[in-house]
C-alpha cells in the first residue's frame, strides 16, 4: 500500500494552520464573492411596480393582434386590474384613420383569463368578417368602463403591395426600446403601405414578471400613429418562458397577445391572401415533434398557394453571435425543401443578413435562403462574429439597434433595415423562389359562394411534371355579375382582380383569366343555374 505523498490532512487538520485553514479561508473568501454576485443578480431583477389605474375595471392598453387571416379577422386584447363581469369590443368601419367616424355598430364578446398571480385579467375578442384593406375603429369595454377609440387597418387585397415591420428582442433596455418604438412610428407614418408589426420574441427580461409586461405595453404605445395601431404578429422567445406554458396553461405571453396557451399553440400561419404566408414558429417548444410535422404540412400548402413564404422564430439557425440552435437541425431542411423566401430570426442582438444558403453552403440568390435578424428592438447590441462564412459579403453583420421593413410586391421582396435615426443600414432584394403565378394556370372549376365571393379551382404544373390544384378565394369587391337566366345574358364585361393577381373577366357567358403566366386560352364557358340557391357556377374546360 502506498501512503499519500501529501502531508495535508484536509479538514481533519488544525483550523488555523496547514491546508485546512487555507481551505477554510478560501471557502470564506470565495463564498462571500458568490453571495455578493448572487445578490447583485437578484437585486438587479427587482422592478418598481407601475402605477395602476384607480378603477380596477379600466381597460388597459387595447391592442390588435393578427393570427391566421389578417384580411378578414383580428383579435383585440386588453387587460384590467380587476376581473369585471362583462367584456366586449365595439367596432365598425371608419372612413379613414380618424378615430371618430360612424358609430361602431358591431360587438364582439371577449374571453378572459387571469394572470397567474391575479394582478391582471386578460380579455380578448376575435373580430371576424372584416373587409380587406379597411380601417376599423374599436373600443374595448369592461362593464361600464371603456377605452378610448383606436383604429387599425386590415391587410390589403391580394393584388396590392404591402410592407411589414419586423424586429426582435425589445428587452433589457426600456429607454432604447422606446427610441426604437418611435422609429417604428415614424416609418409607419411615412409609409402608408406598412400594415403590421412582426415581433421575433424576447419582449421583456422575464415573461413571468407582469411588471415587465406592463412597462413593455406602456412603451409599445409609442409605436401608435395617433389613434392608429399596427396589428402585431408575435412569436415566443426564451424570455417568455413560463412553467404554466409547459403545463399547457395560459401564461402572460398568451394573455398579452390573446393567444391560446400550451406548447403546441404558439405556432401558426398568417395568410395574407395568396400574396404571403408568414409562418410564426415557437423555437422554445419541441422543434422536431408535432411542430415540425405541422411546419411541413403548412409549407406544403403554402408552396402551392402563396407567392411568398416567410418564417419568423426566435432562435437562429445561422446566428451571428451564439452557436446555432436546433432550428438548423429540424427546420432548415424543410425551409430548403419548400423554398422558403426569407427566415427572420432573433436572439443574437445584432443586425445580420446572411448570404443565400442551401445545404449548409453559400448558394445563388435564386436558390439560397437568406436569414435576417437578429434582434435590435432595444436590447444591448453585441459584436457579431464576422468571420462566420455565412456573414461574408454580400451578407452583413453589425452591432446596431434597428428595425427591419419587409415589402412584398408581386415580383420582388425588398428587405430594408433602419437605424435609430431612420438611416438605411441594409437593403436586399430578391425574387420569389417559387414560380407561383408565372407558370401556365388552367381554370378547372369555379364556385360562386355568395355575392362578392367566388372560389376558383386552378391547376398549374409543379416541377414540370405533376399538376396540382390550388384554391383561390376572391373576397372583397363584388363581381358585378348577377345570376342570369342564361349564360348569354350575362353582363357584357365585369372584371376584378383575383387574389392571385390574375385578371378575371366574365364576358358573354365565358369566364376568362388573364395576366402574367396565365394561358390565354384559359377561358371556360359559364353555365348559370338560377335555381341553385348557393349560386354555384359549374364550369367545364
Amino acid at each position: 500500500m502506498i501512503e499519500p505523498t501529501t502531508p495535508d490532512t484536509g479538514l481533519h487538520g488544525s483550523p488555523t494552520h496547514g491546508s485546512a485553514g487555507r481551505v477554510g479561508r478560501h471557502v470564506r473568501t470565495w463564498g462571500s464573492l458568490v453571495v455578493w454576485l448572487a445578490s447583485m443578480v437578484v437585486v438587479s431583477e427587482v422592478r418598481a411596480a407601475e402605477p395602476e389605474p384607480t378603477d380596477p375595471r379600466e381597460p388597459q392598453h387595447p391592442r390588435v393582434v393578427w393570427q391566421t387571416d389578417p384580411q378578414t379577422s383580428a383579435t383585440v386584447v386588453w387587460h384590467t386590474r380587476g376581473a369585471g363581469h362583462s367584456h366586449s369590443v365595439r367596432f365598425g368601419r371608419v372612413p379613414s384613420e380618424e378615430p371618430y367616424g360612424p358609430e361602431l355598430t358591431q360587438t364582439a364578446r371577449a374571453q378572459s383569463h387571469a394572470e397567474f398571480e391575479g394582478r391582471a385579467h386578460f380579455h380578448y375578442a376575435h373580430l371576424q368578417g372584416l373587409s380587406p384593406d379597411t380601417t376599423y375603429g374599436f373600443v374595448a369595454r369592461t362593464d361600464d368602463r371603456q377605452s378610448r377609440r383606436w383604429t387599425f387597418r386590415t391587410a390589403p387585397e391580394d393584388s396590392d403591395a404591402f410592407s411589414l415591420l419586423y424586429g426582435g428582442d425589445s428587452r433589457s433596455d426600456p429607454q432604447m426600446r422606446r427610441r426604437v418604438n418611435r422609429l417604428i412610428r415614424r416609418i409607419a407614418k411615412r409609409r402608408d403601405d406598412v400594415v403590421g408589426f412582426v415581433h421575433g420574441g424576447d419582449y421583456t427580461n422575464l415573461g413571468m414578471n407582469w411588471n415587465g409586461w406592463q412597462q413593455w405595453l406602456d412603451d409599445h404605445t409609442e409605436t401608435y400613429i395617433d389613434s392608429r395601431q399596427l396589428p402585431m404578429i408575435p412569436a415566443r422567445g426564451n424570455h417568455e418562458y413560463s412553467r404554466a406554458n409547459l403545463r399547457g396553461e395560459l401564461d402572460n405571453y398568451n394573455g398579452v397577445f390573446g393567444l391560446p396557451g400550451g406548447p403546441d399553440n404558439d405556432y401558426w400561419a398568417t395568410e395574407f391572401g395568396h400574396q404571403l404566408t408568414l409562418i410564426t414558429l415557437d423555437s422554445t417548444a419541441s422543434l422536431g415533434g408535432r411542430q415540425r410535422d405541422w411546419l411541413e404540412s403548412t409549407l406544403q400548402t403554402a408552396d402551392r398557394s402563396t407567392r411568398w413564404i416567410v418564417a419568423n422564430y426566435h432562435h437562429p439557425a445561422y446566428p451571428a453571435v451564439k452557436s446555432p440552435s436546433g432550428t438548423r437541425v429540424h427546420w432548415t431542411p424543410l425551409f430548403e425543401k419548400y423554398d422558403l423566401d426569407l427566415a427572420c430570426e432573433s436572439d443574437g442582438h445584432v443586425l445580420k443578413r446572411t448570404v443565400p444558403i442551401r445545404d449548409g453552403r453559400r448558394a445563388s440568390r435564386s436558390e439560397g435562403i437568406v436569414y435576417v435578424g437578429e434582434g435590435g428592438l432595444g436590447v444591448p447590441q453585441r459584436d457579431p462574429d464576422r468571420s462566420r462564412w455565412y456573414l461574408q459579403s454580400p451578407g452583413i453583420a453589425r452591432s446596431v439597434h434597428h428595425v427591419q421593413l419587409l415589402t412584398f410586391r408581386r415580383d420582388e421582396l425588398i428587405y430594408r433595415a433602419y437605424g435609430l435615426d431612420g438611416e438605411l443600414l441594409d437593403r436586399w432584394r430578391q425574387e420569389p423562389h417559387r414560380q407561383f403565378g408565372s407558370t401556365p394556370v388552367v381554370l378547372v372549376d369555379a364556385r360562386w359562394r355568395s355575392p362578392g365571393e367566388i372560389q376558383l379551382e386552378l391547376s398549374r404544373p409543379v416541377d414540370g411534371r405533376t399538376r396540382r390544384r390550388l384554391r383561390a378565394r376572391l373576397v372583397g369587391t363584388p363581381i358585378s355579375v348577377a345570376p342570369q337566366p342564361a349564360a348569354d345574358t350575362a353582363p357584357e364585361e365585369a372584371s376584378t382582380t383575383l387574389s392571385v393577381n390574375f385578371g378575371l373577366e366574365v364576358v358573354g357567358g365565358m369566364i376568362q383569366l388573364h395576366g402574367p403566366g396565365v394561358q390565354t386560352n384559359a377561358a371556360v364557358p359559364v353555365t348559370i343555374d338560377p335555381d341553385d340557391p348557393s349560386w354555384w357556377w359549374h364550369l367545364g374546360l
Binding site: 502506498i2 484536509g10 443578480v41 415573461g207 422536431g288 459584436d383
Partner: protein, 271 residues
Amino acid sequence: MTGSGSAWTRAAASITPRRVLVWVVFIQIAGAAAAAYGGEIPVESWMLYRTGLRDPWLVVAADAMVWSCLAAALAGVVGYRAGWLWITVYFGIDAVIGMTVEVGAFMELTLPAHAVRIAAPLALVFAPDPDDDQPPGGSLHPVAIRLLMVAAGLTFAAHGIEAFAAHPRFVDYLVVFTHDGLGFEVAQSQLEVALKVIGVIDLAVALPALLLRRWSSVYAYMAIWGTIAAASRVVHGGLNGLPEMLIRSANGGVAAAIVIFLMVYDRTDDA
C-alpha cells in the same frame, strides 16, 4: 492494487477517483472554452445586461474567465488547491446566472442540474483521506465523496423532473436519435411517454444518492446514462453540440469517480 505486473492492471489501477475528476474538470473547461469561442457563455450575458460592459471587452472578459479556469486547473494539478476552488466558483456563478439571466425552460432547476459540474472541482479542493491506503493522488476525502454523491443525486433529480415534464429539448434529442440513429420515426406523444419513464428512472436512482447510499450499481447506471445524455448533444447538433457535451462531462464522470471509489477504495460496511 499495485501488485500485478500486467500493464492493463497497472493502467486500471491508475484510474483513481481523483484522476477521473481531474479529467472531468479539464474536459468541462475545454467545453466552456469551446462554448466561449463558438458563441456566448452565460457569464458574458450577465456582464452585458448587469454591468454595462460592452464588446470587445465582453469577449475579452469571457475569454479571460475561461483561460483563468484552465490556468487554475493546471495549478490544481500541481498542488494549489485554490485553483480547484476558483473553478468551483466559476461553475457556481455559471449556474446562478443560468437561474436568473439565461432564461429558458426549467431555468429554476439550473443549480441542481449543474451540481456535478460544481462538485467535481470542489471535491478536488479537499485533500485525500489521510487514513486511506492509496496511490499518490488517488482517493478522495470522505467529505468529498459525500459531496459528489449528493451532487450526482441532485443532477439526476433535476434531469428526472425535466424528463418527466417532457423538456422540449429532450424530445428533440429523442426525435433525432430515433430517426437518424434507429432509422424510424416515433410520434412525439410516444417520445413523451418514453421521457416519463426516463424521468422516473432518473428520480429513482437520484434518491439513494441523495441519501448517501453506497450502491455502486446506482452510480454505474448514472455514469453510463450521464455519458449517453451528454453525448446526445452531439448526436443532435453534430459538432455544434460538442461544447455542450464536453461541459456535461461531469454528468457521467462524477458518478464514474464514485463507482471507482466504492469498488476499489471504500471500506465502509454499507458498500
